[in-house]
Amino acid sequence: MDLISEEKMADMTAMEKIRLILDGVKEGKILVLERGLTPTEEAKLIEMTMTEITQEDFPGIEIESYPSSQNQKLIDRIFRKPVVRTRLTVIGPANQLKTLKKDRDLISALVSSQ
């Protein structure tokens, strides 16, 4: 399992983050991202995952993140600068990570070996 800090991801482009995640997951790692991905990056990750699914080896990913929120500070609202606050995210191979329960502030998952 790799626990990836916010600082490590901070300077990466969306594609670099997605490559890091997919390479790790395809090696069988469970990744915990301290600060998660933006909704746009999550959609891109789903898209890239679909291109890499192979029928025998890689059925896809299990990803669980908490709902993100927009920055509600008055100054940002005045200047219409949306800042998405992303939250902790867990990602792993679909055949090894299974979400048992999830709500706004709790993710309960089962990790198994292949």
């Binding site: 933006t38 909704p39 746009t40 999550e42 959609a43 891109k44 789903i46 898209e47 995952t49 679909m50 291109t51 699914i53 029928q55 059925p59 896809g60 990913i61 299990e62 990803i63 669980e64 993140s65 908490y66 709902p67 993100s68 927009q70 949306p82 998405v84 679909a94 055949n95 329960k101 999830k102 709500d103 706004r104």
Partner: protein
């Protein structure tokens, strides 16, 4: 209606008329088997007399996005013309064994799985080209699925209107209240796309939000 409310409503409708597009493209999104095509069929049948696509209990029955142009919905004095896009169910994994569990032969299951992955890519790409989304959630399931979280996050980031259809209220274990408390910031209509329960309320909300 109070004077201020009346002025506000008139001003809002003038503003809407000034800036509204001729037709809005609305995507019907959700996880596989939430009832997206059942809902699309009902909307199209109610307002045009046609149908959109086939439905079944096997996941990923819809593997290509389908667009129906110029569907005019009238409700409560409001009228809106929409292009309705029925999208393949979004998922983060596609395992051909799942199709075999539904009785498909291995070769057919693998073909379907391949088409399903292409359909999911198509559904994600459509997000860039829409004016709003009806997110269909299965009201018998946990609302915090990744697909729901991702679609809602994307619509909020793009500042586009989103309407949640809490589907399958004909089933006794359904709980639209659970969805409402999970995503209180978005309008929600409990419906049964299958038997049409509460569908008129959905049309009112569609006319109101996408008009």
């Amino acid at each position: 209606m109070g004077f201020i409310k009346k002025v506000k409503k008139n001003f809002s409708s003038i503003f809407k008329n000034l800036f509204k597009k001729k037709t809005a493209k609305i995507g019907i999104y959700g996880p596989p088997n939430a009832g997206k095509t059942t809902l699309a069929n009902r909307i199209i049948r109610d307002w045009t007399g046609d149908a959109m696509g086939a439905v079944s209990n096997v996941p990923h029955e819809t593997r290509r996005a389908r667009r129906r142009e110029g569907v005019t919905i009238q409700s409560n004095g409001s009228k809106v013309t929409l292009d309705i896009v029925d999208t393949p169910g979004l998922a983060t994994k596609v395992d051909f064994h799942e199709f075999m569990a539904h009785g498909l032969e291995e070769e057919e299951a693998k073909r379907r799985a391949k088409e399903a992955t292409e359909g999911i890519i198509e559904a994600v790409k459509w997000l860039d080209d829409l004016d709003g989304v009806i997110l269909v959630m299965d009201a018998t399931e946990d609302p915090f699925t990744q697909v729901n979280v991702t679609v809602i996050g994307n619509m909020e980031a793009r500042k586009l209107p989103l309407l949640i259809a809490a589907n399958k209220i004909d089933l006794p274990e359904s709980s639209p209240a659970r969805i409402r408390s999970a995503f209180p910031q978005h309008p929600l209509v409990p419906i049964s796309a299958l038997d049409g329960q509460n569908i008129d309320t959905l049309y009112e909300e569609i006319a109101d939000h996408f008009g």
